[in-house]
């Protein structure tokens, strides 16, 4: 199992931001993580990437517990936050080289992969410019290239499409699908339901800190008991009142 989350809880003061969720994501799977604002998506992702510690429960990445074996777990994964971080006074090439060194890649391998990724993401022309002049989309592409540089078993991405042009979005979608096909895992949090609908193998929906639905798109539609678009299913799941009015979706938490 690439990602294993077991009964994880995180509280912010009195608020249970994440409330005892469990989730399994297999190798070769592209998992889309959906939820309204403040549902607990980013908190869950931060616990998966070791930035936050669960109050209860455990997170395993490729069999390594994030709490007990953090360095090994982190070496197997990459995390791309919703607001990409780059050193403003480094060029894209310098940044990628630094990331390669952080993951102990040999220099020649690092440079070859960096060149290939920059070519693929169409940022080669900016490789030797300081990051401070990059647009949000450019930064997103550089950070994505950095995340893929060491060919991680698990890629965790928070809102990957924000700021990307249509061409960039297409490339990123292709990259994600290719990774899943080659046996790697992609865990993607997004508000863009169309993208989740088009590329995800499975979809999980979190609301008020709990997984309220999880399964393939076909499973979600089947459980909704009528032919819905993902948008309708999502809105039904996070809003029970609307669900009652428009045809309820059964609670599907933990069935994925």
């Amino acid at each position: 199992m690439s990602i294993l989350i077991q009964k994880v809880t995180k509280c912010y003061g009195r608020k249970r931001a994440v409330d005892g969720i469990s989730l399994e994501v297999r190798a070769g799977e592209l998992f889309a993580f959906l939820g309204p604002n403040g549902a607990g998506k980013t908190t869950t992702i931060k616990m998966m990437s070791g930035l936050l510690r669960p109050d209860e429960g455990t997170v395993h990445i490729c069999g390594h517990a994030m709490a007990a074996d953090a360095l090994m777990a982190k070496s197997k994964m990459s995390y791309v936050p919703d607001e990409p971080f780059l050193y403003e006074k480094l060029t894209a090439r310098e940044f990628l080289r630094f990331v390669g060194q952080m993951y102990s890649l040999p220099d020649d391998v690092s440079q070859r992969r960096a060149a290939a990724l920059m070519e693929r993401l169409n940022i080669t022309g900016f490789a030797d410019q300081l990051a401070e002049g990059f647009s949000h989309g450019m930064k997103q592409k550089v950070v994505l290239a950095a995340a893929l540089l060491h060919d991680p078993e698990v890629l965790i991405v928070d809102e990957p499409m924000v700021g990307l042009d249509p061409g960039g979005m297409r490339t990123v979608k292709d990259l994600f699908r290719e990774r899943a096909l080659s046996g790697k895992t992609v865990f993607m949090s997004t508000h863009t339901l169309d993208i989740a609908e088009s590329i995800a193998d499975r979809i999980g929906i979190i609301n008020q800190g709990q997984i309220v639905a999880c399964g393939t798109l076909a499973e979600l539609k089947a459980r909704a008991a009528r032919e819905h678009r993902l948008e309708d299913i999502f809105l039904d799941v996070i809003n029970p009142m609307a669900a009652e009015m428009g045809g309820p979706v059964e609670a599907m938490a933990g069935r994925g």
Partner: protein, 574 residues
Amino acid sequence: MTTATAMTVEAAPPAASPPGLGLLLRIRLAVLRNRVRQLTDQSPARLLLVLLFVAIIWIALYMLFDYVFRFMRRDQFEQQAVIAIPYVFHIFFVAMTFLLTFSTAVIVYSTLFSGREPSFLIAAPNHPRSIVAVMYLEALFFASWSLLLLGVPLMMAIARVQGLSWQFYATFLVAFLGFVPIPGSLGLAAAWAVAMWLPRSAKRAVFWGAAILLILVILWWGRLWALSSGSSSDWLKGFMREMSYLKNALLPSTWVTNAIRLSIDGKFAPAAFYLGVTLSNALFLSWLCINVVGAGYGRAFGRAHAAPTHTTVYSGWASHWLTAVAFFYLPPRLRALILKDVRTFLRDPMQWSQLLILFGLLSLYLTYLPRTRPEGFTLQWKAFICFLNYGAVTLILSTFTSRFVFPLISIEGQQMWLVGLWPVPRGRIMWAKFAFAMTITLTAGMGVTLLSIRALNLPVSLAIVQAVGTFAACVGLCGLAVGLGAKLPNYEQRSAGRIASGLGGTVNLIASIAVVTGVVVVMGIICYRMAVLTESTQLDALGWALFAFMAALGLGTGVTAMQTGIASFRDAEF
């Protein structure tokens, strides 16, 4: 075959071994190298200007210390110098202990627990200890500038006046290097403690910590001033009693002071002992704090980020009332614009605390000033102190307007989708900004000026000169900051600090210093003429002419800068 798929067939990376401190240090050096290269390539004038200002400050400090030590070496002060100079060192290093602890804590907190870089580094397979160590070293580097800026000219002045050998230079440099990590490690521990136990109120904790410390210092300072009302002998005894605990053998400041004092006396063997004590403590404390904070870094980071930010509910009635009273003369629409700026000012402690601290210290000194001379000051002293006070007030005002008033228009430009659509001429927006800046600076500046006039019991003519001079300086500095803020804006940058330190901000700073220099020099001439040449409490014709020139310089600069700025702002595109 696509790139990504192709990559997956490559050999897997070697077994993960966390990168060491060296890699993180190298990347910081690369960032620094690029920053310097960019500065030398794109704005060498700015770099030269910064270096020039640092050199001027450094040389001025050196000359000041040199003068003080030569003055104290005169025959009649030789004995007092023997007593006082060690205390100068003790006070200097105690003050530096607090300053370095505080500044390291603030820098370490911001680099380890806020911003996006720590998230990036933690999510990668970096050992937490390496992250803590590199941030700690960086904080020491930045925090120690104050020690170098103040300490090196102090020591060099002593060395020159006393004719000391090269060993002294080596001793004080090693002493400085050894001393910095001691308060630095305390700052690291303090930052970690705030993240662990006060994560919801880190800024408030730092602010109140600094405020309490400042109040304690002020109270202690007040006691020292109060002592000065007695006879010289009583004062000296009281003063020594007050200062005795600064010489406690367990204080790091005492070890460094002893090392330097002994090396001044040519006793290098015992000086080396104190250097050893300082260095070994610095190394041990650094090792201890890096390991303890490194071990608890993940937990502390989680707590700092898991805790909800402190949410205060603002009713806004006080700021509304304040704006309505202070800006009653503005039409309601512009008052609404001002209300936004008033609320930003009041809710940003960086802005009002700077004015409060600097003018608060000045006010305190002016309150105690009459006690030092119960019999009153001579005209010469009155004129001299009046001149110094005026210089201090205008300098503080210029730093405030450069840092906080200059960015106002640039920041407004980012909201031009809102402000730009208002049916209000842009020129009036500029005047509203000017009125806002004037109200704050005039309230603070004139308050201190009136205190100064009262404390010195200035003759009417000199009181008028100082009060009108402060008003003119306010007009000049606010006009410059608002006008140049519109003439040389930076609409891309969202950080007010970065706007202020950009090209436009630098030009404004230089222009402000030029205005301050101009009015202060004229003020100096007026005071000198009154106190030395005419020895009269009345201004003569030339004195009034100089006064008129000083007022015209301030007012003219302000109005001209505003007109230039309004013309630019009127035609600006966003």
